[in-house]
Homo-oligomer: 481 residues x 2
Amino acid sequence: MEVHTTQCCILMGFLCLLYPWSQVCEWREPEELAALLDLELRENGEPQHQLLQRIRDVAKYSVKTNHPRFFNQLFAGVDYHALTGRFLTEALNTSQYTYEVAPVFVLMEDEVLSKLRSLVGWAEGDGIFCPGGTMSNMYAMNVARYRAFPEVKLKGLWSLPRLAVFTSQQSHYSVMKAAAFQGIGTENVFKVKVDDRGCMIPEDLGETIELAKSQGAVPFFVHATSGTTVQGAFDPLEPIADICDRQGLWMHVDAAWGGSVLFSKEHKHLMRGVERADSVTWNPHKMMLTGLQCSAILLKDTTHLLKHCHSADATYLFQQDKFYDSSLDTGDKSIQCGRKVDCLKLWLMWKAVGSKGLEERVDRAFAHTSKYIENIFFSHFYLTYVFCFCSVEQPLFVNVCFWFIPPSLRGKENSPDYNDRLSKVAPVIKERMMKQGTMMLGYQPQGGRVNFFRMIVISPQLSHQDMTFCLNEIERLGNDL
Amino acid sequence: MEVHTTQCCILMGFLCLLYPWSQVCEWREPEELAALLDLELRENGEPQHQLLQRIRDVAKYSVKTNHPRFFNQLFAGVDYHALTGRFLTEALNTSQYTYEVAPVFVLMEDEVLSKLRSLVGWAEGDGIFCPGGTMSNMYAMNVARYRAFPEVKLKGLWSLPRLAVFTSQQSHYSVMKAAAFQGIGTENVFKVKVDDRGCMIPEDLGETIELAKSQGAVPFFVHATSGTTVQGAFDPLEPIADICDRQGLWMHVDAAWGGSVLFSKEHKHLMRGVERADSVTWNPHKMMLTGLQCSAILLKDTTHLLKHCHSADATYLFQQDKFYDSSLDTGDKSIQCGRKVDCLKLWLMWKAVGSKGLEERVDRAFAHTSKYIENIFFSHFYLTYVFCFCSVEQPLFVNVCFWFIPPSLRGKENSPDYNDRLSKVAPVIKERMMKQGTMMLGYQPQGGRVNFFRMIVISPQLSHQDMTFCLNEIERLGNDL
């Protein structure tokens, strides 16, 4: 009986996915949606037809992140091979900590990590998959701290001098979360200035390190970014590495977003110097479309720092008298105990399309972005102002950031309330697009710039029509503003 | 084309699951397995028939954790409703941080957490799903630290006195991982003595707190356990709560394993006093069979401590000028940024079988355990010694811990090398069962006890035959020892 129900349910889940949704989302106010979904959990179970309706409702009112016009986050689209890997992962339901319970995945994780490391430029090293880029970044900070002061594991931060972390003004907020969570404190994160494109200014890094020292703090960790969240900027890794070398600091590259450029011969120059880093965060669930969650922390280290730093040697799990090589029990490298299998979806997709297929995916995303920027420039320039790229031919990355200038503000750049009024435009258009469900893209203020749109262009399902639609739609939604 | 491939792949994945595997695992030495799987990732992709073979191989050589004779970890079995929820989660692929991209799941997480809290005994409170119980425990420690010393978020631990954490000798190793990761240091974790059954001795907690204070440390966090990993012991929560009240300490209950007894009217007394805790970790992916990962941290707090402690207010994600109530954007409560949807599988299963069905599952696991212990006692007692339970009629929990005494050691309890020889028995039997693939259960030493088996009895697929088989099989595998 259960199997029969399940077959139906799986089919339904699958059909939901394939259904040609016309809308990206079907907006409902929270109270209305809660009532529609009938979320309450009760004493008794429900009959099969009602469960099938529940599944349909969940799918119907969820955002279709695989819709070609979903540009809202740093993930989008769907790769069916990766999806198959995810289904298989769920069906096999194991935990990635010992060779005994996850023989296939222990070996597979090792192969995938090794391949990712080779793209970084390392013939050897270490690494592990983490539940998201923030966790990967936290691993880097923790291992760096341990390398500099191994006594921290036993004695805590009270045995250490006050530490200092360095990152750019536009790095991801996970640096702050890591510093707070790991007991370092957000005040000990020193922000380094960026240029107009959002790239860290190396000279300012040098000065900021001196400033921290003059305040009695001990620098130990530089967190550079390859692909910032909003502008898609790549910090200049070579000069940053020079400084880290000179100062003896751990260099981490948060390439959660940008790392996938390493697949592309044409674009990998954006991360020139990455091989000089000590650690790299890379999320294939973003540009590579593996599906959430797939994030790797990669280390150049070959001295088992990761294990020494995190191990707790649980005797019930990591027995030393096992009949196989217990170094295959990689779970003690993790700060987690049970750990979801995150490597299969990436491995299966990679097997299916090859490194070449992944390279094409990256190159196609860049090409789509250029096309967008060109369209905005040549067809819509009277309405918009685009920034965050080097040139139309060669955008910096796949984040297209722009303002929509509504009719009432055109030519009024010098009015005193221009910025104030412009800041209210994106939120209104966003509300309208969500309520009509036609597309989704994000907006935010940043530094001195008031609310602007950020469009992320990675979905392989994206067609020329979708691209044209999107720009026309912004005009349509904002033409009375 | 892609869709066609996918349909086949999904079908395959599904068939793998349903295939009546005779063996729990198909053991291969690592080198042999690596060769069989052909793990290498290459420049070019592979044709469809080869991908299908890959999927078959991954399934074939993976451990069948849903096999009725998989007793190796604190998870086992399969619930097809939960599995459907997992497939749907994967198909919808979104991140649980804002109402905008996860409207259904923001509301659903809230409902599921609220229902779990009501089982704890709280009419209100807070909480969030985390990637595993260790992370949930880390959240508790961090929020407790923040409540006691809010300045830690900005200034780090240097602004605080040396802190002290208290937990039992048999608590999960995540307490040590948390203390190390959060900069507190493992030396500042004070271990409290346990009784024979593995339960914390409250009097020793009181004394240990005084000891820590006499060493100049400041107690702030007591980590009690409901369902220890090895013995399945439940710490006495009422007297622990009395001490925490008196001393003004945060009381956390790690019920990752044992929490599900709260579904059962018959067994929830094991957690009497849990409503007096400040926070509770509870992993439905263990006894409730939702599949990895599904772990909740629940808090009694109603002052938004979780948010204040973890927020970083990223302007690109948590805009304050949104057109809907931005308190629905719960992502900033998390230390993660992107966060996998972990609530749907539990919600769908709960809808399907109701609280009553979940209660039956818990009661059935206890009944199976009693049956096992009875079998061991009355049919196999000449071979084994069972411990870790209160009585045959009422086992403490579903961990059955026992030694197998092989023929050569029977009646030799007084030999000087008895323990040494007994310690080598379980590893040999484990090797044999793995290589023959007939079943899987774990072993470990603990405290003064040399290697003993730990059998976890939760799978609803477990039959009387499986139970008999398992005991006979241990005898068969160990009769020449």
